[in-house]
C-alpha cells in the first residue's frame, strides 16, 4: 500500500508540474461550462414558457440541468481519458525509467495501481470543476444533492474503467501518441457500441450494446445505483488492470 502511494504521488506530481493537467482542466471547464450554461438557459426558458401559458407544472432542476450536464460530462470524459493515461507507461519505457521501477523492490501490481490511482485522482480533479457550475444551482434553487452524488460516483466509476483500459494500452507501447490514439479509438468504440442497439434487437445487438460504457452510466445520471452497472464498471477496472499486469510480465519474457 505504501508503495502504491509512492508511485501515485510521483505520478500526480508529474501531472501537475507539466502543462497537461492545466490544459485538460481548461479544455474541460470550457466544454462543461458551455453545457451547463445551455442546460440552465433551456431550463429557465421552459420554466417561463410554461408559466406564461398559465399551466405551470413542477420542473426539477435535477431532471433538467444536472442530468444532461452529467451525461455530457461523461462523454467529454471519453476525450480526456486518453490524454490522462497515454503517458503513464509509454513515457517511462521511452526514457528508460521503467528499468528503475522494474528493478526496485516493488511489485508490478503496486506500480500499476499507483499509476491508475493517480490517473483517477487527476480525473476526479478535472471533474470537480463541474462542481463549481453546479454549486451555482444551490444559490438559486433547491436541487437534490443525493442524485448528484450518485452521478459523480457513476462518473468516477466510468472514468476508472476507461482509465484502466488506457493504462493497459499505455503499457503496450513506447510511444505516447500511439497509446493516446489507440485509447481514444477504444473509448470512442465503447461509446458508439450503444448505437448498434438502435438497429437491432437480436441477442448480438443486446450483447454489444451491453458493452457500451455510456449505457451503464445512464442510471447513475438519474440518481440510481444499479448493482449491475457497478459490477460492470468494477469488472472492467479489474480486467484493465489485470491485462496491464499480464502485459508487464510479457515484456519481461519477450524483451
Amino acid at each position: 500500500m505504501k508503495n502504491v502511494l509512492i508511485i501515485a504521488r510521483k505520478e500526480l506530481n508529474s501531472y501537475f508540474v507539466s502543462p497537461i493537467a492545466y490544459g485538460l482542466m481548461l479544455f474541460f471547464s470550457l466544454l462543461a461550462g458551455f453545457f451547463f450554461c445551455s442546460a440552465t438557459m433551456m431550463f429557465v426558458q421552459r420554466g417561463m414558457e410554461s408559466q406564461m401559458m398559465g399551466r405551470s407544472f413542477p420542473m426539477s432542476v435535477n431532471e433538467w440541468v444536472v442530468r444532461p450536464v452529467l451525461s455530457n460530462v461523461s462523454v467529454i470524459g471519453l476525450f480526456l481519458i486518453p490524454m490522462i493515461t497515454m503517458r503513464l507507461f509509454a513515457e517511462e519505457k521511452r526514457t528508460g525509467t521503467y528499468e528503475l521501477l522494474a528493478t526496485s523492490p516493488i511489485r508490478d501490481m503496486e506500480i500499476i495501481l499507483g499509476k491508475w490511482f493517480a490517473a483517477l485522482v487527476m480525473y476526479a480533479c478535472i471533474l470537480a470543476l463541474t462542481l463549481l457550475n453546479i454549486s451555482i444551482l444551490f444559490a438559486y434553487g433547491k436541487p437534490d444533492l443525493k442524485p448528484m452524488l450518485v452521478g459523480f460516483l457513476g462518473l468516477l466509476l466510468q472514468g476508472g474503467a476507461l482509465l484502466a483500459v488506457g493504462t493497459f494500452i499505455s503499457n503496450t507501447t513506447r510511444s505516447q501518441i500511439v497509446a493516446g490514439v489507440a485509447t481514444f479509438a477504444i473509448c470512442l468504440m465503447l461509446w458508439v457500441l450503444d448505437w448498434v442497439s438502435a438497429f437491432g434487437t437480436s441477442t448480438w445487438a443486446k450483447v454489444i450494446s451491453y458493452c457500451s460504457v455510456l449505457n451503464h452510466f445512464e442510471p447513475f445520471s438519474k440518481g440510481l445505483i444499479d448493482t449491475k452497472d457497478v459490477i460492470f464498471y468494477l469488472s472492467m477496472i479489474f480486467l484493465g488492470l489485470f491485462l496491464t499486469a499480464r502485459s508487464m510480465e510479457s515484456i519481461r519474457w519477450r524483451a
Binding site: 508503495n3 509512492i6 510521483k10 506530481n13 508529474s14 508540474v17 507539466s18 526514457t95 528508460g96 525509467t97 521503467y98 528499468e99 528503475l100 521501477l101 522494474a102 528493478t103 526496485s104 523492490p105 516493488i106 511489485r107 519481461r252 519474457w253 519477450r254 524483451a255
Partner: protein, 318 residues
C-alpha cells in the same frame, strides 16, 4: 556475492547470452568487458531481475533472481546504460523518490539522500531540474540513485560512457571508493577502465565467456612474454646458416625461445620470445651485427591488451 551458472538468454531470433558461468567475491570490483552487442547488458539485466534467464541460474547476495526477486531487488543498485531519470523532477526530489522506492523512510531517507548527494557531488545541484543538467551530472545522479539504499551489490552498465576525461576520473575514483562495502560489477568496452578500477575481469563476446581472470593475471598473461621479430640476411647476399643464427640469438640474455618463421629472398625471419623487462632488442641487434650478418628488421610483437582482447573476442582488427 554473485554466482552465475550456465546462464543463457535466448531471444526470438538470436542467443544474447550463451551458457555463462562466473562468480564474484564480496567487496570486489569486476569489469565486464566485451564489444557492443556481446551480451553485457543482457547479463546485467538478468542479475537485476529485469529479465528472466532462458536457462541457468543467477544468485545475487544469496538469493536466486527467479525464486526471490524481491530480496535481490532490495540488495541491488542498478545504473542502466541510460540513467533512469525523470526530467521534470529536481535532483533531491528524484533521489528522495528513488530512496522511497527502495524502501527508505523518515530520517534515514533524508540522511541517505544527503550522503549520496555529497558522495556523487550532486549536492550543489540538489534543487535543479534534472532536465537542465549536463550529461556528466545526469550520470552522477544516476549513480547516486543506484547507491541511495546502500546496496550490497552494485550493477553499473557503462558508468563512464559519454563523460569528459575529468568526469571519467572522478567517476572511477568514486566507484573505487565504494568497493569496500559493495560488490560492484561494471560493464565497459574500454580496457583501460578495467585496468584502472577492477580486480577481476570477465570478457564476453557474442554471448560467450572468453576469459575470467584477475586483472593482474590477465595483463601478465598478455604482457608477460615479449616477442620480437628479427629478420636477418647474410652479408652481400651470401647464404646463411639458420641453425647458427638460432644458436647465436639464443645466447642473448633473457631469450627463452627462438623460432624460424619463414625465409624469403634470402632473408630469414625469427620470432624471439623473451622475459619481459630485459631490453633484449638492443642485445639482439648487437649479436646479429657482430656476427657479420645484416639486420633487416627488428620489431616488437608484444601483444597489447587490445590485441589480446581482439584475439580473445575474435573480432577483426581494423
Amino acid at each position: 556475492m554473485i554466482k552465475v551458472e550456465g546462464l543463457t538468454k535466448r531471444y526470438a531470433r538470436n542467443v544474447a547470452v550463451d551458457d555463462i558461468s562466473f562468480e564474484v567475491e564480496k567487496g570486489q570490483i569486476v569489469g565486464f568487458l566485451g564489444p557492443n552487442g556481446a551480451g553485457k547488458t543482457t547479463t546485467m539485466r538478468v542479475l537485476t531481475t529485469f529479465l528472466p534467464p532462458t536457462s541457468g541460474t543467477a544468485n545475487v547476495a544469496g538469493f536466486d533472481v527467479m525464486e526471490q526477486p524481491m530480496e535481490v531487488k532490495k540488495r541491488i543498485g542498478y545504473l542502466p546504460e541510460t540513467p533512469p531519470l525523470y526530467p521534470e523532477m529536481e535532483v533531491r526530489e528524484f533521489l528522495t523518490f528513488a530512496g522511497r522506492l527502495k524502501g527508505l523512510t523518515g530520517d534515514e531517507l533524508t540522511k541517505r539522500v544527503q550522503i549520496v548527494s555529497e558522495q556523487c557531488s550532486v549536492a550543489e545541484v540538489g534543487s535543479k531540474l534534472i532536465a537542465k543538467l549536463s550529461k556528466g551530472y545526469r550520470q552522477r545522479v544516476g549513480l547516486a540513485q543506484a547507491i541511495v539504499h546502500n546496496p550490497d551489490v552494485l550493477v553499473l552498465d557503462e558508468p563512464t560512457s559519454g563523460l569528459d576525461p575529468e568526469q571519467i576520473i572522478h567517476t572511477r575514483d568514486l566507484i573505487q571508493s565504494l568497493s569496500g562495502n559493495h560488490t560492484i560489477i561494471l560493464s565497459t568496452h574500454i580496457l583501460q577502465e578495467v585496468e584502472a578500477m577492477c580486480q577481476q575481469v570477465i570478457i564476453i563476446a557474442q554471448g560467450k565467456l572468453v576469459a575470467n581472470d584477475s586483472v593482474t593475471n590477465l595483463t601478465s598473461r598478455l604482457r608477460g612474454a615479449e616477442t620480437v621479430s628479427v629478420e636477418v640476411e647474410g652479408r652481400d647476399g651470401s647464404p646463411l646458416d639458420t641453425a647458427a643464427v638460432e644458436e647465436k640469438l639464443k645466447l642473448v640474455t633473457g631469450v627463452n625461445k627462438v623460432v624460424l618463421k619463414h625465409t624469403r629472398d634470402g632473408r630469414h625471419a625469427f620470432e624471439v620470445e623473451s622475459v619481459q623487462g630485459n631490453n633484449v632488442r638492443a642485445e639482439l641487434a648487437r649479436a646479429v651485427v657482430s656476427a657479420g650478418w645484416n639486420l633487416t628488421e627488428l620489431r616488437a610483437l608484444g601483444l597489447s591488451l587490445e590485441d589480446i582482447f581482439l584475439q580473445l573476442t575474435g573480432a577483426e582488427k581494423q
